[in-house]
Subunit: 491 residues, 2 copies
């Protein structure tokens, strides 16, 4: 199967490539964004569909992206004093019911285990959709004194939510995630933790995934079931839709009271602790695809790319040997791969473009004669002639440039796709004609929030931490308003 | 709560410690081995019990051991060309039934999901007890040509088996493991893979966990459901019981045929591939506890110890500062921890003995004056006076010595607890009076194997690769026999 070759493929080193019939095999973004997305996840070998409706198989290339995400984020968690644990995957129905807002939020979408072997269970168990209840039950056992606080726990696992409509990475019945659960002596400490973890998510999204995000608080309507406050990072995708990319919740002492968690404070008095939880998931892989991808396929930020650089050589004598030497050398400074397959260089260009490899290194007989190679950036197609002697020094520099290029492009796109609305008609017109974020003032009434959804099809994304007063009246009802919100259509 | 202080605690640096009333808080091995085991898993903070019967909570210290196991083993898998993937946790009933021996083996012990939210599912789903069926289903989709082979996949996940009686790490309804699943063009290649992976498990057990193992093949009776051959590593615990610590299965083309996996070979003919699977689990933590532990608690092999060295200082002036300096320096050569808690050095000695930390570094005013410290080995209590200038050099040496010490002690114990039996009465007497492995010749008849279990309460552990002909007649029926087997009572 031949694929479209992206910009930069017709490099003079391989003049014969122009003769190849290069057929584009993925739908273009413009033609059908949803189809483009599905084509990319399948053709870049990220996933396969399984026999279980709504559950995906994460293939080696997709899982390697997740492993890189895990490694980096896990390091950030450990640096801030968090420890990993593992809780059971089942929650007894009675335990799930202890916090009433929580059960109301999750009951409609959980999978129930009713039988073990041939026997019906006395009490049915749900497969965890999230583990607040399990952590609370455990905290009750192990927290007795102020000396036992804080507890800063995290868990890497899979969770299940019985969604009706599903899409790979974005919404699947089972997905992989991490869920942090912490317990603190004071509300202030718990609130600081909630914000600290949101900042870690934002730093990870921006520095490592090269995805700019809006940090803010969710409205009451959009809060996590049982939370007193939910913070979020919101990213903008290529098609102008928002993607909630990480959330952090402050629970106050609600869960602790519901579960009877109590400790003896420094004054020897009984006290109730305060709780948080926070999570990111394989959904981030969907964000990477839709924030950076193009019509040639995936574009991966270098920090999480399973392959950061791939030398591609022609089949001429002596060239493969040089490519092996180059591969050996760059392997010391980045994650490299060499592909000695029998396919043409043109096929390989397309293959590694589809897989989003940040840089490819083109090597032909003339390059070798000149003791140089051509490095092609996946993000913008730029070609850089580099002396073979300078490879180890240049590759990391170029990978950094790719990250910066991706980030700036995404930031510019977001700026260009962010609109201010001052009244309902204006908002409706933007929502109907211009994909992207809409900034608008809001009075704080849930009624107005619901009306905007009904009338213009947008939901509140967040109340950003960085406020800008773009008016003083609610975009919906016209009453005084002092909060600027981001609104949009969302995944 | 005070704990018993192990050998080496009454070091002259802390003469006042002798005055402390040191109360032993765990049951001794000799008194009640099962209770000793439970005391260790709880007191060393490895697990907590959960509200879900038979499912454990793996606490930070226990999970850190598992993370170290994962990191090392995952590296060994990747070095041998394996890639990680993630399959759904659910298996539709019809898929589980495709290979008839397999379903017969697992159906009695699976958990069934019957409802998603409020709706009853059209087909019930089991929570994976193992994933051969899911991998086969996927292989059928992605393997078409000889170019697609081999597939060398591994998955880290949790699995569920609805056991009646459970014990932490050894047998729980949910446990963590890795399961490798590979597909090959030829039977020879698949067989070689099966043996390669067993060898990796043996190397890991012996070099990293310091647990000597017997490598061999299971009898037909003890094979994995659906396998043509099952290989195992068997370890001997302190109480003389065997623990199956890792298995590797060769499936021939049975699963591939049952699932209709077919590819086009080099001659353009249709062909059926050959399959393997192999796994180790959190059971290994049970093996570590019961192979190395003692009456002071856990004893961890350095390679997987979350804390490899802990400096413990008296509360005298200037000593804590020095301990911090020592901690900073040794952190560069090992995983170290400093505990600045208000408890006495004696309490800390007991605490880190309970947690199995391989070496502790004792620091008192006199040591500092002499520019030295005393390093105490957890495995044998040996005290080594070391110049503070030589710490970075000495710590890694001593950690290696601890590993070697543990391995040799376990090997000697196994030798001393391995007995040869030449006839049924002799075997019965050994089984009744001497805990350990029994070596005996076997004719190959399943009937004899069953009789040994019924009459002497032992099961066949394996037919070791390293054969030694200790007779020429079957220990049971007296007929000619050319296979020597290990027999024993097992977890």
């Amino acid at each position: 199967m031949k694929r479209k070759v992206g910009r930069g493929a017709f490099f003079c080193t391989f003049p014969d490539m122009a003769k190849e019939k290069l057929v584009k095999s993925i739908t273009s973004m413009e033609e059908d964004f949803a189809k483009w997305y599905t084509d990319v996840v399948l053709k870049a070998d990220l996933i396969d569909y399984s026999s279980v409706k709504g559950c995906m198989i994460i293939r080696p290339y997709g899982y390697a992206v997740w492993e890189n995400i895990q490694r980096i984020v896990d390091g950030m968690f450990k640096e801030t004093g968090h420890e990993n644990v593992y809780m059971p995957m089942f929650i007894p129905e009675s335990l799930l019911q202890k916090e009433k807002d929580h059960i109301a939020g999750f009951a409609p979408e959980v999978a129930w285990v009713t039988h073990g072997g041939d026997e019906e269970l006395e009490e049915r168990l749900c497969v965890r959709p999230t583990s607040e209840t399990l952590f609370c039950d455990h905290f009750k056992n192990i927290v007795h004194s102020y000396r036992d606080l804080p507890k800063l726990y995290n868990q890497w696992c899979s969770v299940v939510r019985w969604e009706k409509t599903t899409r790979p990475f974005l919404r699947s019945r089972e997905f992989l995630w991490q869920e942090g659960h912490t317990l603190h002596a004071t509300a202030e400490e718990a609130k600081a933790e909630t914000v600290q973890m949101l900042n870690i998510y934002a730093k990870f999204a921006e520095e490592y995934l090269a995805i700019p995000v809006i940090k803010g608080e969710k409205t009451e309507k959009e809060r996590f079931a049982g939370a007193e406050a939910t913070y979020t990072i919101e990213a903008l995708m290529h098609d102008g839709k928002a993607l909630q990319s990480g959330t952090s919740h402050y629970f106050g002492d609600g869960f602790a009271r519901a579960f009877g968690i109590e400790y003896t404070d420094k004054n020897n008095s009984p006290a109730t602790p305060f709780e948080t939880s926070w999570g990111i998931s394989t959904r981030l892989i969907g964000a990477i695809i839709m924030a950076h991808g193009d019509d040639s396929g995936l574009v991966l930020p270098p920090a999480i790319a399973p392959i950061q650089a791939v030398p591609i050589a022609s089949h001429k004598e002596g060239v493969l040997e040089k490519a092996r030497e180059v591969y050996g050398r760059i392997s010391r400074v980045c994650r490299a791969k060499i592909d000695e397959g029998e396919q043409s260089p043109g096929w390989k260009f397309a293959e590694y473009e589809m897989k989003g490899v940040p840089v490819r290194i083109e090597l032909g007989p003339k390059d070798i004669e000149a003791n140089s190679c051509v490095i092609v950036r996946r993000d913008n197609g730029e070609k850089i002639t580099v002396s073979l002697d300078a490879l180890e020094e240049k590759i990391p520099e170029i990978l950094t440039a790719v990250r910066d290029g991706l980030y700036n492009k995404a930031l510019e796109r977001r700026s260009a796709m962010t609109y201010d609305a001052h009244n309902l008609d204006e908002l409706k017109e933007i929502a109907d004609t211009k994909p992207g974020f809409i900034r608008a003032m809001w009075c704080g009434d849930r009624e107005c929030e619901e009306k905007l959804k009904e009338y213009a099809g947008v939901t509140s994304r967040c109340i950003p931490f960085e406020q800008e007063r773009i008016g003083d009246k609610c975009v919906c009802c016209g009453k005084p308003a002092d909060k600027m919100l981001y609104w949009g259509k969302a995944y």
